[in-house]
């Protein structure tokens, strides 16, 4: 995973709450066995509406998505994160995120910046009236803040320490975990014998 210190670029405002991962990437796209090539499917149904945010001039180059509460709810499909990244987004700013989506984002290196509802309103006001596509927005992982200097807006965002550390360092999570390989082996020795194992035969003894 690539390290991310900050994301700087233009933004798209998607002023809806409960944006579910079925909207972000519809099921028909989940048949792909790669991690790439999902950008064309991003918000596929909503993009059929010419008025949709992603169809506005400048949206194609945006790196930051500003959205409503409970972003990424529903299906666990990490393809939603890959689709956002494939389209060009490197950060999503919202008042809250669904748990699985947030976990997937951290794993894939997409920044999820959780900003208070009032502050989201400030950001959206600063980015409205067609200014989003040209605004210079920074999502600063190190400082945990979102800045729109042209509008004089700076708002803090919440991100767990560990998530921030992983983004800043670009760590391979499995590599970090394997430092504890001995602890895992030790744990396995003490697991009760009745716990099930797969395969055709059931365990017969304790």
């Amino acid at each position: 995973m690539r390290a991310v210190q900050q994301v700087r670029g233009s933004a798209v405002v998607l002023d809806r709450r409960d944006v579910d991962t079925d909207q972000i990437i519809p099921a028909a796209w989940l048949k792909r066995v790669e991690r790439t090539g999902f950008g064309a499917g991003l918000f596929e149904a909503w993009r059929k509406d010419p008025a949709f945010a992603l169809n506005q001039p400048g949206a194609a180059g945006a790196k930051i998505l500003v959205a409503g509460a409970n972003f990424g709810c529903g299906s666990s499909r990490e393809h939603a994160v890959w689709a956002l990244q494939d389209f060009g987004f490197e950060a999503v700013v919202a008042p809250s995120f669904a748990d699985i989506f947030r976990g997937n984002s951290i794993g894939a290196g997409l920044v999820t910046a959780q900003v208070a509802e009032d502050d989201i309103a400030k950001l959206i006001a600063a980015l409205e009236a067609g200014r989003a596509a040209t605004a210079d927005v920074t999502v600063d992982v190190a400082a945990r803040e979102v800045r729109v200097p042209d509008a004089g807006v700076t708002v803090p965002f919440a991100m767990p320490d560990y998530a921030r550390w992983r983004l800043l360092e670009g760590l391979d999570d499995i590599g970090v975990t394997l430092r504890h390989a001995d602890a895992i082996t030790q744990f396995e020795r003490n697991r009760p014998g009745w716990l099930p194992v797969s395969g055709p035969l059931a365990p017969a003894t304790a």
Binding site: K31, A45, I184, W194, L195, P196, A206
Partner: protein
């Protein structure tokens, strides 16, 4: 503080709690399916890693399998490729696979419990959000993404920040005609779509205790629709009776030792929760969703709500947009809304008990002309057991299509989809825009209501059909 079921399961799986990192949790059972695993196996191989515990990993094919002619040629080359990948990955890494055509194939959350692989006190994960289903056994079970699937394959552990614990207590008995599906839709309406975010819900109270395992699985299954990480129900004699004798349940002395252990799991009296919600079962009714989130539901006796009746601008806008998408007018009685398609199946309501509930309504009745009605058993075994009881004959005599096991129209990956503006009554778990096909309009209901609706041609409960057999 007295210990809670969730803490007990959590604590016994802690492998390490390194300073500054989320704790490392051991995973007892990792369920795998064709759609969220290929990139994980590829990542594993690119890094030169192997599956640490193939014996704690079980795979099946469910999301995009054909349900009409499962043993015939697979017409969708992408789906065929995904299934071939899974087969190859499982062979290469020694993972047990129940492929299409196997007697144990089926929706991943139906087969785990059916095989007795899901047991109290375990940790269960799967690259699928409805893994919360397995919490019905008093297991801690949750959905993960593909990067985490790779992490579990490689290490048999997962890093997790400990969620908060919420208690949802349902007091009293469910009124006649109110099912587990109505109960959980009622809970979700109370909590809201994001109300459970960051928490594990323990369902408690008499109405929960009274549920059979199928009903408990239906309730835990939909925890994720309130945003919760997982749902749990304390194991009891109902749980043990379900498990005893299953293929992977312990036997003999091991069974006795396991029972002693499982009996120590329930939350102790006086335990406090981070949040507590109480619901009176007597106030619950058979419900149907009207909108595009599972929280947007109303009693069958109710009407399509007026968006202005909701508090807050964001909720009003969301309701307005949902009604436009669903093609509904405020004030319309739910019973006056006609349906084009009825789908019975999914990991929420595709078990034998669900098929029995629907068949009871359908016996001696026929599907309303013009309604397409499909029943897709949750697993090959559910299908076989239903056929042994003659349920297939009841469904087909009523005019339902009797299919083979898979996710099918729950998410419409296999070509079982709604057309734009087509309206369905569905026993699945998500009514998101386009979930069952682009432009399709999904209403979530219980199996009994789905069957009654198929007969009436519009939303109905079984009692509406009395005398019309």
């Amino acid at each position: 503080m007295s210990a809670r079921l969730f803490d007990k399961v959590w604590d016994r799986h802690l492998v390490a709690s390194p300073e500054g990192e989320p704790p490392l949790l051991y995973i007892d059972l990792h369920l795998v399916h064709e759609v969220t695993s290929p990139q994980a196996f590829e990542g594993l191989e690119l890094a030169g890693r192997t599956v640490r515990r193939p014996d704690l990993t079980v795979a099946t094919m469910d999301h995009d399998v054909p349900t009409k002619d499962p043993l015939g040629p697979i017409s969708d080359p992408l789906a065929a490729e995904q299934m071939a990948r899974l087969r190859k990955n499982c062979e290469a890494h020694g993972v047990t696979l129940y492929p299409l055509g196997s007697a144990e194939q089926g929706v991943v959350h139906v087969i785990g419990p059916q095989l007795g692989l899901t047991q109290p006190g375990m940790t269960v994960v799967c690259g699928d959000s409805h893994t919360s289903t397995h919490g019905a056994f008093g297991a801690l079970a949750f959905g993960i993404g593909t990067t985490e699937v790779e992490h579990v394959l490689a290490t048999q552990t997962l890093r997790q920040v400990k969620p908060q614990a919420m208690a949802v207590t349902v007091d009293g008995e469910l009124p006649a005609g109110v099912t587990a599906k109505d109960l959980v839709l009622g809970i979700i309406a109370e909590l809201g779509t994001g109300g459970g975010t960051g928490t594990v819900i323990e369902y408690r109270g008499q109405a929960i205790r009274d549920l059979d395992m199928a009903g408990r699985m239906t309730v835990c299954n939909m925890s994720i629709e309130a945003g919760a990480r997982a749902g749990m129900i304390a194991p009891d004699d109902t749980t043990f009776a379900f498990l005893e004798g299953r293929a992977h349940a312990p036997r003999g002395a091991a069974w006795e030792r396991a029972l002693d252990d499982w009996r120590s799991l329930p939350t102790e009296d006086g335990a406090a929760f981070d949040r507590e919600v109480r619901i009176d079962a007597a106030g619950l009714r058979p419900v149907v969703t009207w909108g595009t989130t599972p929280a947007q539901s109303v009693s069958i006796d109710g009407v399509v709500p007026d968006p202005a009746s909701f508090g807050g601008q964001a909720q009003q806008q969301a309701a307005q947009r949902a009604l436009e998408y669903m093609g509904l007018t405020p004030g319309t009685a739910m019973r006056d809304i006609g349906v084009d398609t009825v789908f019975i199946g999914s990991c929420t309501n595709g078990r034998l008990a669900d098929l029995r509930a629907a068949a009871t309504v359908l016996r001696g009745r026929t599907v309303s002309p013009g309604v397409r009605a499909i029943v897709v058993p949750g697993s090959a075994r559910v299908k076989a057991e239903a056929e042994a009881e003659g349920l297939d004959a009841v469904f087909t005599a009523a005019g339902f299509e009797w299919r083979s096991a898979g996710c099918s129209m729950c998410l419409g990956m296999n070509g079982d989809i709604l057309s734009p503006r087509e309206r369905s009554a569905s026993t699945s778990n998500r009514n998101f825009e386009g979930r069952q096909g682009p432009g399709g309009r999904t209403h979530l209901v219980s199996p009994a209501m789905a069957a009654a609706t198929a007969v009436a041609g519009h939303f109905a409960v079984p009692a509406d059909l009395e005398g019309a057999r």
